[in-house]
Amino acid sequence: MNFDDTAAANAVRQQAEDAALAALVDQYAGALYRVAFSVLRNAADAEDAVQEAFLRVLRHRDQLNEVRDHRVWLIRIVWNIVLDRKRRAKTRPETDDVAELARVLPSNGLSAEQVASAAQHHGQVLACVEQLPVKEREVLMLSAFDELSSVEIASVLGITESSVRSRLFRARNLMAGMLNHARGKTRDLEPSGRTAETAAAAEEEGR
């Protein structure tokens, strides 16, 4: 085989791989970003994770033809990346998450007070999610993506579908318990707050 023929064939192959990769970026970058953001809760970090995922795909582009389901494969890559990043960035204060969430979440037609209250509620939910055992937490977070079926979640996590269902059931039970407990605490605090306010008002009236 002539050297020129080999070079031409390589160039053609590379062009085909580039086109396939560009198509993957167009099709799945958004979904990967949302998966990354759901874990990292930081826009810049999530975008970095998406870029890193596609760079890994670029490095292993020879295997693209062997992949059966590109979507699940890509989500699995970005999932591993974000979990690794989250493990390394444990030192970041949790208040950043809530602030970032309040900035990012939609607030159409809501007053500033309502937005702040919603962000606080979401922060409380996310704090409870963080307290879940790892296995249950992962399934619960992936189940929030409407486009992922239980089979696909099982494929991303490398477990069986029945495990996904049982873990999801446990996660929901645990979340319900934790949120009820948290709400009970909030209710317990409210009357004392009111009493303090009433006492302050009475004091002012007395003056």
Partner: protein, 165 residues
């Protein structure tokens, strides 16, 4: 990308009030749109990434009919590897069995005392033979007097005994 709901198990609820599990928050986050221009930025990053591993160029371009050079180089590499292996193999001493047998320390059972690891060594040499000292030699003066008295008493008892009878 359009969202097509697939996970019907999430909608069924499975007997748990999903609103009370905080899943709405997770779904809200999962539906957040990706920032504008994300795809373009990813494509730029992919274009900027190195595509191939760095390969050192061969200093002299080989001609197509110079196959014998490759064969010679391959043979030389094989020779070097084989020679190295043989030199290592020839320097290794074969394993030799130990000449002394290790005797395990006897451990007392049933409440016996153990030997504390002491090993009895057999007497393989002739013990030194010491000649018997002379009767009075080697005694101190006080011992000599005592010796004489004892001898005299023996003589007296020997003489008196028949008279008593």
């Amino acid at each position: 990308m359009s969202i097509t709901p697939q996970n019907s198990y999430g909608r069924s609820g499975e007997g748990i009030d999903r609103a009370g599990t905080g899943e709405d928050t997770l779904r809200l986050i999962a539906r957040l749109p990706a920032p504008d221009g994300l795809e373009e930025r990813v494509r730029v990053a992919l274009r900027a990434a190195p595509r191939h591993g760095r390969v050192l160029a061969w200093p002299v371009a080989l001609r197509a009919d110079a196959a014998w050079v490759r064969a010679t180089a391959a043979a030389a590499i094989v020779m070097v590897v084989a020679g190295g292996g043989w030199s290592v193999y020839s320097h290794i001493q074969p394993w030799q069995p130990a000449k002394a047998n290790a005797v395990p320390a006897r451990v007392g059972t049933m409440g016996e005392f153990s030997g504390a690891g002491a090993v009895r060594s057999p007497q393989t040499l002739q013990p030194p033979v010491v000649s018997a000292p002379p009767k009075s030699a080697g005694l101190y003066p006080s011992q000599k007097k005592r010796h004489k008295k004892a001898a005299a008493a023996t003589v007296l008892t020997g003489t008196l005994a028949p008279a008593a009878k």
